[in-house]
């Protein structure tokens, strides 16, 4: 028990002192996951809108596939990306293995299904509501799409936050394709796994606290976006 209490005290000390090693790991984590969410948004939002608004063969298969991919174990995604970017793989020449770029790529694969799937649901139900009125007003297609995205903006932000939550918290994918190399590819989750196995509980706990804090902040932000959205449209 004493050991745990001691670890806690040291963890808090690391946070208060803004330990350089701690900050480096947090910084890389945010850099990787925020980049992944940004790229996933550029892919996932248009993909979600396409699935919501267009009827084409294979649409239902694509929707089911996205839903399945939402629950993919990160280690499996990591393994697949590893095979692609490893030296013998099809993208081996790029030399991406064990770099932050590979970690971002793996997290993009994890986040795109979440963003696309949630965006599809949101845009589809909004379109259901607006369609008749838009047809009556003879709204041009591009203007209709812009209006749907704008009016769904709060719900879409929530989808991006959900994607960020998954990216920042996963261990498996970044561990496999990043390799957890100190100063290069070590992020919060992989650092925790390593430090616990080494018996260095204080750094692990400090990082754990930061992750909990981030998770809390994401949820508050998501709740705030929802509240703001409802206030704007009157519940």
């Amino acid at each position: 028990m004493d050991e745990v209490r001691q670890a806690f005290a040291q963890a808090l000390a690391l946070l208060v002192e803004r330990d350089a090693r701690l900050l480096e790991i947090i910084g890389l984590s945010l850099e990787v996951s925020l980049s992944a969410v940004l790229i996933a948004a550029l892919i996932g939002l248009p993909l979600g809108a396409l699935l919501a608004l267009q009827r084409f063969p294979g649409r239902k298969v694509a929707i089911v596939a996205l839903n399945v991919m939402m629950g993919l174990p990160p280690v499996v995604v990591g393994l697949v990306v590893y095979l692609l970017v490893s030296r013998a793989g099809p993208l081996g020449v790029l030399g991406l293995l064990f770099t932050p770029a590979a970690m971002i790529a793996a997290q993009v694969v994890l986040v795109v299904p979440i963003v696309a799937s949630l965006a599809r649901q949101v845009i589809e139900s909004l379109w259901e509501e607006y369609r008749e009125t838009f047809r009556s007003l003879a709204v041009p297609p591009v203007m209709a799409l812009a209006a749907l995205l704008w009016d769904a903006r709060f719900a879409l932000v929530t989808a991006l936050l959900a994607g960020f939550g998954r990216a920042i918290a996963e261990v498996g994918a970044v561990m496999i394709v990043g390799g957890n190399i100190d100063h290069v590819t070590r992020v919060m989750t992989t650092a925790i796994a390593l430090e616990v196995s080494k018996g260095n509980l204080s750094l692990a706990l400090a990082l754990g606290l930061v992750l909990i804090g981030l998770s809390l902040a994401i949820n508050i932000a998501a709740y705030g976006a929802k509240e703001l959205g409802e206030a704007r449209r009157g519940g």
């Binding site: 008749e132 047809r135 009556s136 041009p140 203007m143 209006a147 959205g229 449209r233 009157g234």
Partner: protein, 255 residues
């Protein structure tokens, strides 16, 4: 102001429509002339009133029959019409932005757009609510905003699907005034309604629709003096005659 004559008369010929395995419009012919007037479509629930409006407006394509606007292609015809639905669908933005959106869709911009928005806000009594979120307005205000959004487009033909169905008397009265004024300005109004007193107040012409067919069409005075059709007479008297007749004629008339 676009003249009514630009796209009218509207001609529906042999229009049939099925919904959920039931024929809801049956081989229906209807011509709406070019003179500005208020045509009220009445009839019991499920008679096909709303669908008739949607077919005429071009939102629903009939399985058989034609809908023809004169002197205009489909695009131009659509832009010369507007419709207010039973339940207003407003965008998740301010009242003013809802009006601006409709005008932008028609390519109206700049000072002209602002001028028209100000004018319609004043006319519909919504000026003080211009910056309120449209979805936060009361139901009556939302319905008025939907009517304002239709009127600001200055349509030649205005379709109204029970625009006062859920409004209190004062709000309903205001909507009636707006409809009368629109008609006075040369807009052809085609409207469904359940409130016979309102029909008496508004109608120039009455169309009685029953189970997907036009049973009677007459000038309002003549219709209220005594409809020729027995179903229409029963409807005016508030009698449930058509239920009896349905059981007798079931399968024959519909065949």
């Amino acid at each position: 102001m676009s003249g009514v004559g630009d796209i009218l008369p509207l001609e529906l010929a042999g229009v049939s429509l099925t919904r959920g395995g039931k024929r809801v419009l049956k081989d229906l012919d209807l011509t709406l002339s070019a003179e500005p007037s208020r045509t009220l479509i009445i009839g019991p629930n499920g008679a096909g009133k709303s669908l008739l409006l949607k077919v005429a407006h071009g939102l629903v394509t009939p399985e058989r029959g034609t809908v023809r606007w004169h002197g205009a292609g489909a695009g131009a015809a659509r832009r010369a019409q507007a419709m207010v639905f039973q339940r207003p669908t407003l965008l998740r933005r301010s009242a003013r932005a809802n009006l601006a959106f409709a005008l932008r869709a028609r390519g109206v911009g700049g000072a002209e757009r602002e001028r028209r928005i100000d004018e319609i806000l004043n006319r519909t009594g919504l000026a003080r609510l211009a910056h309120a979120p449209a979805r936060a307005l009361s139901f009556g205000e939302q319905q008025r905003l939907a009517l304002a959004r239709a009127l600001v487009l200055r349509p030649a033909v205005l379709f109204l699907d029970e625009p006062t169905a859920n409004l209190d008397p004062a709000a309903g009265h205001l909507v009636e005034e707006l409809i009368n004024r629109a008609c006075g300005e040369g807009i052809k109004v085609v409207m469904t309604c359940h409130d016979l007193n309102q029909v008496r107040r508004l109608a120039d012409e009455v169309i009685f629709l029953h189970r997907g067919r036009i049973k009677e069409r007459a000038p309002a005075e003549q219709f209220f003096a005594g409809p020729e059709n027995d179903l229409a007479r029963a409807f005016l008297a508030g009698e449930p005659l058509w239920w009896r007749r349905r059981s007798i004629y079931d399968g024959i008339e519909e065949g």
